[in-house]
């Protein structure tokens, strides 16, 4: 039995069905989501890019002030720093929630999936430093998302030149050892970005480049750094290694180094056939199967070559290949995909959005019960509660539930937003995600979400709306026989076909 186009489109190429959302009719409509997605603009960072940049600048100023409060009370400095950290962390949580909600609420599922793919391909981690909590969301919003439907070259440039990448892969530390700046500061080369550029971002590991290529690429990149004050990208000839540097047989640079040198290298790397192969393979592994059909990859690389790496055309070649529409369920939904798909299926978006923040003074409230408890008998305790408190309790509970079903779950399942374990990003294969502990977490999530949103759901209808013709007969049978509604919904969300794509 083969699964319909719309089911495949929703589950394999999107974040699953959401009640009331229009489905793409055909491949053209699916591809059209790229343009719509770019136009829609992300809901993060909070307040938009300009506001975020201002926050970054303010944070830098405050960190500087704290550093310069020389001789002052250490305790006070520590407190101030801690307070600042809490504030930044809170903003980061808000952005991470917005990123989750963006995926839940967007009708452009294919675009959202690709945004996740590329953010993970060009991995950066918000854990690198405090300012990175602000910079990484901005990076996805302004470097990745606008560029995932155009030429790969543009995306590579945007990602490589963003402060998030320059900080994460230590490019901001790298200086040409023989450059005037490098000699004066006695600082040298950092190969990190040069290496990952070749190994992860373009050609791919084992594609034939050498350690000399890595070192040369790092040399070509010298001068590319950040402005420490406002954390913006900058090119400083003074720290750029002079001379010619040969990467994969092409030489870049000269006596006077400019930004054009590394841009030329990036463009050449983007145009390299190994890059096309690496990216096309990675896309088909991500979307279709851990062992994708070689014919699909070559169909994609042909189009890459013909269109000079036009990504929309490459996605189109993937969708045009018959292998894109068969053998459904070969991949595991990764935790982010699972949580987003679950929240979409349960139509939980408005609850999650309404409760992603809790501004009440929760600590004070939670400390309050002693007074009434001590007053003793049950009659007193039953006095009508203060409505304001009731409301606070309600909000707090809802907030805790939303957090547990969102960021909390993603952390427990091992895929917290913007916190990949390494520059290589999160694991990709089925075996990495379908394990005993993973399944236990997913079951716990399914239970909790089902208990939260069971009110108006009949599990049999929920199954139809969520898995459509992807539901196996056995799942239909088991769900319809479940001992209660919460169990029934849980079984849908726990089913193999809901956890596969």
């Amino acid at each position: 039995m083969s699964v319909s186009f719309q089911t495949m489109a929703a589950i394999r190429f999107g974040y699953g069905f959401r009640p009331g959302e229009a489905q793409p009719e055909d491949k053209q409509a699916l591809l059209a989501q790229l343009k719509l997605g770019v136009e829609a603009k992300p809901t993060f960072p909070d307040g938009g890019a300009e506001a975020c940049r201002k926050r970054i600048g303010d944070l830098q100023d405050q960190l500087k002030e704290i550093r310069q409060e020389a001789g002052d009370d250490d305790e006070q400095r520590r407190n101030r720093r801690r307070q600042l950290q809490r504030q930044v962390q809170r903003g980061f949580q808000r952005d991470a929630n917005q990123r989750l909600m963006q995926a839940v609420l967007s009708p452009n599922g294919f675009y959202e999936r690709l945004a996740t793919f590329w953010t993970n391909h060009f991995s950066t981690s918000a854990n690198k430093s405090l300012p990175m909590r602000l910079i990484v969301p901005l990076y996805e919003a302004e470097a990745i998302r606008p560029n995932i439907g155009g030429p790969f070259r543009d995306l590579l440039r945007a990602a490589t030149e963003h402060p998030a990448m320059l900080i994460y892969l230590d490019q901001a530390q790298s200086q040409g050892p023989d450059s005037p700046g490098g000699m004066r500061q006695k600082k040298g080369l950092n190969e990190n970005l040069g290496r990952e550029l070749l190994e992860l971002h373009t050609l791919g590991a084992g594609s034939g480049y050498t350690q000399a290529d890595v070192r040369s690429a790092a040399m070509v990149l010298t001068g590319l750094t950040i402005d420490r004050d406002d954390i913006d990208v900058a090119f400083r000839p003074r720290i750029s290694e002079p001379g010619q540097h040969t990467v994969l047989g092409v030489s870049y640079g000269g006596d006077r180094r400019t930004r054009k040198d590394y841009l030329a290298m990036l463009d050449d790397l983007a145009a390299h056939p190994k890059t096309a192969e690496h990216i096309c393979r990675k896309l088909s592994i991500h979307f279709i199967a851990d062992q994708p059909a070689p014919e699909m990859i070559s169909a994609m690389t042909d189009v890459w070559k013909r269109t000079d790496g036009d990504l929309t055309a490459v996605y189109g070649a993937m969708l045009d290949h018959p292998a894109a529409w068969r053998d459904e369920g070969a991949k595991a939904r990764q935790p982010f995909d699972f949580v987003v798909a679950g929240l979409r299926a349960l139509n939980a978006g408005s609850f999650m959005e309404a409760n992603q923040d809790n501004d009440d003074d929760a600590d004070a409230m939670m400390a309050a019960p002693a007074k009434d408890a001590d007053s003793g008998n049950g009659m007193n305790a039953m006095a009508p509660p203060d409505p304001a408190d009731e409301d606070k309790v309600k909000r707090r509970k809802a907030f805790q539930t939303a957090r547990a079903l969102g960021q909390g779950a993603l952390r427990r399942m091992g895929q917290p937003i913007w916190l990949p374990p390494s520059p290589a990003g999160f694991e990709e294969t089925f075996d990495a995600w379908i394990t005993a502990s993973q399944l236990a977490e997913r079951l716990a999530w399914a239970r909790r979400a089902s208990a939260q949103f069971d009110k108006d759901q009949d599990p049999r209808e929920f199954l139809k709306a969520t898995l459509a013709d992807a539901a196996r007969d056995e799942t239909i049978r088991v769900v319809s026989q479940a001992p209660n509604k919460i169990s029934g919904l849980t079984l849908v969300l726990a089913s193999p076909e809901f956890n596969r794509r």
Partner: protein, 390 residues
């Protein structure tokens, strides 16, 4: 038993430690004037009444249930010379002896033929004649017609109100958001769900082994504690302004290996009732009625997996100081071939809604007209009801 903090606020603050959703879906309370109390317990998953209260005096019983049927010489606790209590419910025996416990055999809702848990529970809680006929719960509708009923703001701290108490009238809801064990019957469903998918079956098997078991299935001991917590909470609330409470116990869908699986939910039920009694204290317990009911019964014959499948006629339980117990109520239809419904189920001889109606009438003076028109549409009930003698 854990003593629950008496303060509402204290409870709210500690709500995270209270029982979990699969064991008990939200505990719902309604504050009513007057002295009498009424507790409903929804036994979700179709409790096998023939296993809880076994008709060992019926000649064919042992043959119908080779591995499930017990006799007094094999541990069954004789109740009246014909019926015996499953030994897992031994803690209920003192209540039976003090006439604070009764069972009603062969009852059902008007639901027939389909045997879906969802529809059956919907019928049981909505109180209608047909599936999805009533959108609100009968216990909620009852609030509006209880004389001297007092309007009170609802509190819904966690999830949703259970259907039985949901509707236009104010009901406070307190539920736990804590983690979430899976009852054993549900584990069977998960196993079946994964049986055809080796990768998932393997992950599930590993997860349920050793340490993993704690992640998925609630350890039995902990489950019992949580049930005691919720019952104690309900009891303490009923000591105050509240007059009506409702909660659920899951784990009854015993298709496989029932002899082992049935014990746990029966122990839970016994624990819930004895805990309620302790928490309420003798004075209030004497004014209390507990009604435990299920969506339908199970097949009279055991199946090929040592379990039973969805049936029709079931068993309800009444407890409390306000009842005249120590008796098996209802009209026993027998389990001979000709006496079964569709040659498989216990023939229902009374409507479980009539028991509920009788308790609402007796505890809260709800008029028979209201009971048959507004609360249980289509039900026949008047002051001659057999259950008013309970």
């Amino acid at each position: 038993m854990t003593e629950i903090v008496l303060s509402r606020r204290g409870f709210l603050a500690s709500a995270c430690c209270l029982a979990a959703a699969p064991v008990f879906t939200p505990v719902t309370f309604a504050a009513m004037p007057g002295d009498n109390r009424f507790v409903t317990i929804v036994l979700r998953g179709a409790m096998d009444g023939l296993d809880l209260v076994q008709p060992y005096g019926d000649a064919g019983f042992a043959g119908l249930r080779p591995t499930l049927a017990l006799t007094p010489d094999k541990g069954l606790i004789d109740l009246d010379g014909h019926f015996g209590l499953n030994p897992a419910g031994a803690d209920l025996l003192p209540l039976w002896k003090s006439k604070e416990l009764a069972f009603v055999h062969a009852v059902s809702t008007p639901y027939r033929d389909q045997r879906s848990h969802f529809d059956g529970q919907d019928m049981l809680e909505s109180g209608g004649e047909h599936v999805a006929e009533e959108k609100t719960g009968w216990l909620n509708r009852a609030l509006a017609v209880i004389p001297r009923s007092d309007a009170r703001k609802a509190i819904d701290v966690n999830t949703s109100t259970e259907l039985i108490l949901s509707g236009p009238n104010n009901v406070d809801v307190w539920a736990s958001d804590s983690n979430l064990g899976t009852a054993k019957d549900e584990m069977q469903f998960l196993m079946r769900l994964y049986a055809g998918d080796p990768a998932f079956a393997k992950a599930m098997e590993e997860a349920t082994r050793a340490n993993g078991a704690a992640m998925i299935a609630e350890p039995d001991g902990k489950r019992g504690e949580k049930i005691a917590d919720v019952a104690a909470l309900a009891g303490n609330m009923l000591k105050g302004d509240y007059r009506i409470a409702s909660f659920s116990i899951t784990g009854w869908d015993t298709h496989v290996g029932q002899a082992a699986q049935f014990k746990r939910p029966v122990q839970d039920l016994a624990q819930a009732i004895t805990t309620l009694k302790t928490a309420l204290g003798p004075d209030i317990w004497s004014k209390t009625v507990v009604l435990a009911m299920t969506e339908f019964g199970r097949t009279v014959r055991q199946n090929g997996s040592g379990g039973t499948d969805h049936g029709t006629g079931g068993c309800a339980l009444l407890a409390g100081g306000a009842i005249n117990g120590g008796r098996i109520l209802g009209k026993w239809p027998g389990i001979g071939d000709a006496q079964l419904l569709e040659d498989r189920d216990l023939m229902p001889t009374a409507d479980v809604r009539e028991i509920a109606a009788a308790m609402l009438y007796r505890q809260f003076d709800v008029s028979p007209d209201d009971l048959t028109a507004k609360i249980f549409p289509g039900l026949s009930f008047d002051k001659s009801s057999q259950f008013l003698r309970a």
